[in-house]
């Protein structure tokens, strides 16, 4: 029963697609090659690495800032109608969101160049990402209606959502400039599979006293839902098309886009390090299998109007149908196939790290004297790292930020553990833990967030995990 509930909750969470995308544990966790994905300027000491295809990087994140499953479905003896009204309809606002993100690496590999200061990495990953803000006034209108709400403007702009599934082809290089600075750059090609976006809606619905009749209902709408790829998806679900048609869209057969990541690591002094990265500065041009819907216009209705003598002169007039036709003409619901552009949700990371404790020689080279600048030797790592991280992501209602404090502990070159405490809009009690283990050339990592919430996962507003397996060589033996 418990397993069933966990499964149902996870499915609901993932289907709702939450999105914070913060990978605060993976960030600057240099034992793990995937740390290059969140900062191409991460310092690495690998000679080469190869992720196990499909298993090298799997991550899921889901969050809800306004409500949890437990808030509504807890078996607490309370009337669900009271809970739904108080906690959903009246308890959430337009800043609350449901969001989600997943990434599955198909291929990920890296190698050191002839110039050992350069490290190249490349791969393909599949990503899904979506966010939906609470459509407060739509929900209020649907739950309570417009009766006895004279002059209350129901804001149609409360509909704000977007989502996408795409493949990302990437190639990056990190270059050690000197013993203090490592810079990184990653180019990306996006191959869009599915996309929907409806983020710039405007308008309102209001009921006022009528000029002629008792009431006037006014609809002022400028709503647009853009989508691409769903035509193919529909064909597949109705068995008019094959899954292959959908897969092709992920391999340059659909929408295309470009993007870039930047990052760096800089040693302020021997033990203090600052890092930063900016990811997914890019866009996708949606030009294939596009289907957009619009509802634009302005109409005011006071019911069927019969005004004599005009009504006598037009005795066969179908007043009701005329009213419908007039509204449809004033506020037409239309569709089109116009291409459109979406910008990727750009992410920004930054950290300040202090290293202390036992020094651990790099596996990648002779242990260096770290005061030497430049050259191909690698920096000695310290057993302990402590610091803070900042994360910001650009979302449809503006940037969302998260602040983390972390501690990383290395146990020789065999194992490293990182724990982080993070505050963001989803949780003020997010404690996460990540483990990287090295067994010969095999690297295995696992990390999970918001561990305190696992006491009652149904009450959690946020959950995430990442795991993967890599083969790493340091060029010795």
């Amino acid at each position: 029963m418990r397993i069933n509930n966990i499964f149902l909750i996870l499915v609901l969470g993932v289907c709702n697609f939450v999105t914070s995308q913060n990978k605060q544990i993976l960030y600057d966790f240099s034992e793990i090659p995937q740390s290059l994905i969140v900062n191409p300027g991460t310092e690495t000491d690998f000679q080469w690495y190869s992720g196990v295809p499909l298993l090298s990087g799997i991550s899921f994140q889901a969050g809800s800032s306004g409500i949890s499953v437990n808030d509504v479905f807890a078996n607490d003896g309370l009337d669900i109608n009271d809970k739904f009204r108080d906690r959903v309809i009246n308890g959430m606002n337009t800043k609350d969101d449901l969001s989600g993100n997943y990434q599955i690496e198909l291929i990920n590999a890296g190698y050191r160049g002839k110039n050992p200061d350069n490290f190249y990495s490349f791969g393909i990953y599949n990503e899904g990402d979506a966010i939906g803000y609470w459509f407060q006034d739509y929900a209020l209108l649907g739950y309570e209606g417009n009766a006895d709400k004279l002059n209350k403007r129901f804001d149609l702009g409360d509909l704000k959502t977007r989502g996408e599934i795409l493949n990302v082809f990437h190639f990056g290089v990190s270059k050690k400039i000197d013993n203090k600075l490592t810079l990184g750059l990653r180019g990306k090609l996006y191959s869009g599979i599915l996309d929907f976006t409806s983020t710039k809606n405007k308008g309102y619905f209001v009921t006022n006293e009528g000029q002629n009749n008792l009431l006037a209902n006014t609809l002022n709408a400028d709503i647009e839902l853009k989508s691409s790829g769903f035509v193919v998806f529909d064909d597949v679900t109705r068995k008019d098309g094959s899954v292959g048609d959908l897969v092709k869209r992920g391999f340059f057969g659909g929408d295309l886009g470009v993007g870039v990541d930047f990052g760096f690591t800089y040693h302020l002094n021997e033990q203090t390090v600052v890092t930063a990265s900016i990811l997914d500065l890019g866009f996708i041009y949606h030009s294939t299998d596009v289907l957009n819907y619009t509802l634009k216009g302005d109409a005011r209705v006071e019911g069927v109007e019969i005004i004599l003598p005009d009504a006598i002169n037009n005795g066969n007039t179908d007043f009701w149908q005329d009213l419908i036709d007039e509204v449809e003409e004033l506020v037409p619901f239309e569709d089109n196939n116009k291409s459109y552009i979406t910008y990727r949700p750009t992410k920004l990371y930054g950290s300040l790290r202090y290293n202390f404790g036992e020094q651990i020689g790099s596996k990648g080279s002779l242990d260096c004297n770290c005061n030497v600048s430049g050259g191909s030797s690698y920096r000695t790592k310290y057993a302990n790292n402590v610091g803070g991280q900042l994360y910001v992501i650009n979302r449809p209602r503006g940037p969302q930020a998260a602040l983390s404090a972390f501690y990383l502990r290395r146990f020789g070159n065999v194992m490293a553990i990182k724990t982080a405490y993070t505050i963001d809009k989803y949780s003020l009690t997010n404690v996460g833990l990540g483990v990287s283990m090295q067994a010969g050339p095999v690297n295995l990592y696992f990390m999970a967030d918001n561990l305190l919430a696992y006491q009652n996962i149904a009450a959690s507003n946020y959950a995430s995990f990442q795991l993967g397996i890599n083969i790493i060589s340091w060029g010795k033996n």
């Binding site: 078996n75 669900i80 009749n213 005004i307 007039t317 149904a458």
Partner: protein
């Protein structure tokens, strides 16, 4: 590792079946306006009679979900003669399902207000859900020569409906 040790307080997803969502919507329905001049020009007492299609009540999206409702009427007469307005609700076969009759004296007379409830303790909801036409008849109960001293004398019928609709 963590999932294996996770817990879930007992949830009851069956509660969803008990969730009830019944919003209440309101809108104007019919507005009728006639000048005294038209009334005086008519050759019979019934100076206006007309059937017109009115399908919103019988649309499945409404008829299958309506729980109860109230139709509010307001009748104002600034003409010099007493008048009778009859609204008949008809189904597709032109059978009269219900009749609402209004009498109003000549000016000066108070605005006539009437609320007619449907469902619960009111009239049968079937009247509303089967209505696909409305017949409007207006009768002059006075003379055809007098003219009100009011500026722009009119007979005006206003109406609105407020209905509860079960969404869930």
């Amino acid at each position: 590792m963590f999932m294996g040790n996770s817990c879930v307080e007992e949830q009851d997803f069956g509660q969803y079946n008990e969730l009830s969502v019944i919003p209440q919507f309101e809108s104007s329905i019919i507005y009728i306006e006639a000048t005294e001049e038209i009334i005086n020009l008519a050759t019979s007492a019934a100076f206006y009679t007309q059937d017109f299609d009115f399908n919103p009540f019988s649309e499945n999206v409404f008829a299958d979900r309506v729980v109860d409702g109230v139709i509010t009427y307001e009748l104002e007469n600034t003409t010099s003669k007493p008048l009778q307005i009859i609204l008949e609700f008809l189904d597709e076969a032109d059978t009269i399902l219900d009749t609402e009759t209004f009498f109003i004296d000549e000016t000066p007379s108070a605005v006539l207000k009437r609320d007619v409830a449907y469902g619960n303790t009111g009239k049968s909801l079937d009247i509303i859900t089967n209505t696909s036409k409305i017949r409007v008849t207006a009768n002059n109960l006075g003379d055809t020569s007098s003219i009100s001293s009011q500026q722009e004398p009119l007979i005006v019928l206003k109406s609105s409906g407020k209905f509860s609709v079960r969404i869930k």
